[in-house]
């Protein structure tokens, strides 16, 4: 790597290491072809954005847990949206899977991984928790059995549930 490029990277990290982290809007289609914007979802409350694919077993484990948490906290303003990452090879099966599970949260299609890339996703499972003001509160990579305890704590903290 040449010196100007090295300097670019070092300067980049040094200058911007103190900036506040905020999210950016995305606009994706849901399973019925309706256009859904993140900014619209944020009007309801904090948004948990989970990236998943049919081939990703831990993603589906996490999805089941998040669905339960969504049902539990949606009346308190919690929003959960699942962004599907399946390529065209299996995207036709996504709606079938979601409907068969009886899930009620919104599932959006990010087949070309544009949003995944913009959030810096590298591997699945990958999730981002975004406040209603657009701040990225937390990023999650991987899913371990029992993570639902921590996830619920994070949701309660953001919603300020159970605190006087």
């Amino acid at each position: 790597m040449n010196k100007p490029a090295q300097l670019f990277f070092i300067l980049f990290f040094s200058i911007f290491s103190n900036l506040h982290s905020q999210t950016y809007d995305f606009d994706l289609n849901d399973l019925d072809g309706n256009s859904i914007k993140l900014s619209e979802l944020m009007q309801k409350g904090p948004v948990f954005v989970q990236f998943w694919a049919l081939w990703c077993v831990p993603c589906k484990e996490e999805m089941k847990v998040l669905n339960d948490l969504y049902i539990k906290y949606k009346d308190s303003g919690f929003v959960y949206v699942a962004l599907n990452q399946d390529s065209p090879k299996s995207s036709a099966k996504v709606k079938s899977y979601i409907e068969s599970k009886g899930y009620k949260f919104q599932c959006l299609l990010d087949s070309d991984l544009k949003v995944f890339e913009q959030y810096g996703g590298q591997n699945l499972p990958f999730s981002v928790f975004i406040s209603s003001k657009g701040d990225i509160l937390k990023t999650y990579t991987g899913y371990i059995l029992g993570d639902e305890i921590k996830l619920e704590e994070d949701i309660k903290l953001v919603l300020k549930v159970g605190k006087n």
Binding site: S14, F16, S100, S111, Q118, T139, L145, K150
Partner: protein, 551 residues
Amino acid sequence: MKKFNWLLFTALFIFCSNINSQIKLNVKVSASNLLRYGIGKENSITTDNSKKYFEELGDVRLFVNDFLFGARYEYDDPIEFGKGSKSISRRFIEFKKDEFTARAGNFYELFSKGLTLNAFESRPLGWNTEFDGVKLSYKHTFGKKNPIKVNGTLLGGGINFTDFLDTSRTEVYSVRAGTFSVSPIKYFTLGGSYLYSDGQVPTGNIITNISSEIFESNFSFSWKGIDLFVSYANKVTISHPNAIYPQSRAPRGDGAYGSISYTREGFGITLDYKNYRFNLVTPDQRSATDPFKPLPFQNAPSCIKEYSTTLLSRFPHNVDFGDEVGWQMDVFYSPIENLTINANASLTSRHYDYFDADTTTLTRYERIDRNDDFLPSIKDELSPYWELYLEAEYYVNKNLKAKLGVSRKTNILYSIVDPKSSDKIRTFTVPLELQYTFAKIYGIKLNAEFQRAFNSLRADQKNFVSQYTSIAMSRSPNIILGGNFEVTDDNEDPSGKKFWVNGELTYRFSSANSVLVSYGSERGGLKCSSGICRYVNPFNGFRLTVINNFN
């Protein structure tokens, strides 16, 4: 590690430690980092070769108002698969305002279902069809009461596609393409795309210059749980005369893909159909360097099930997007809340059989036409692949899950030169998964797979059995400790071994930062993604993966 990388790491940690500071600017930044290191030996029956790789990928994204700047620094010394880099391997600038997006630099793109364009990266395979160019996208909804939705993308740029099986071969393409879709009423969407490409395709030392055009149209319909999608693409490739093709050729090919699904709460069924005839050639002309093959950035749906467990994915089917017809049916059914059943059936084959029409010592293959060439066949001569799969997943309670499956597959790679040496593989596989969570944060996961296989290419023992077991114990939110064991009675395994054992430790030092180390032996085999396959050598050694994400 080089001095620069230490500086990069230092900068990353400074960045991390200050991520939550609250200086409000209309500037956003995010970064991610992936480090992969491995050292050991690749095993074969005859010899063991040293294997070492080091890959460091740092991605940064800077958002300034409506602009996004992004870059990736890649340092491979050497890369595990594919063509390595020691420089900024990705950079782009993107402008996004309301419904308009413009991007210059590197990008991937997907048009509809990929019959025209599906550029993507699969790093485990060493596959990369990344563009370097310009892309403009616009979407808008006209009207509110009866909205009309329009969506379009125009792009132009170049792709340097390094052959993932032979990294000394690079195909160079210059592409101009566009796609649009319009939804005049709620339930219907019409779309189309056009792609023009100039390419240079090397065969040995000779380069064939080609020009390709693809037209594609598609239609989708969605109403009350019924979803229908149909797509058709037509491609022509014109070669410029050279030593291999003294006269210009312009073969035409086409492809169709369709899917229909019906869903209601607790039930979903999907039927996929493919008919890819982009490059129907005689058996002696099939070649990875054929300039008339489907373009590397054409990647249509494979219509076969893709698995994530070890033995189920051991003998995958290598899709030929130039000559393949097939269908797949997939069903999800939840008769009760805690039980989900998944059934899958698929059948795929080539379109035609061929025969040698030359009565001399030369060979001249001719096609044997058939009336039902729009359907796959199970005749050996058409290299069929078929599969039946059934799986039941049951949550006994909130803490205990059991999943049991059964799979039957047959894959034939027919040899017209010597039919007796055709590669026939049959497998019967039973995967079992048990998962138990206790004391709220502890978990145990057991994956056990049993496979009985038949491989016609084995010299002596054609039937063999493999067993794979993995056990993982975890403590949320930090630790996973696991072990993988595999045993076979196959005397001719390419690794020359019959037993593999491997240990893994994953430690998450924060929700988005983790390190994974593993040591031991891995059986290797054919690995596939989106119908693209490569053989991964058996490996015995140490691996390290570090994943960081700073949003």
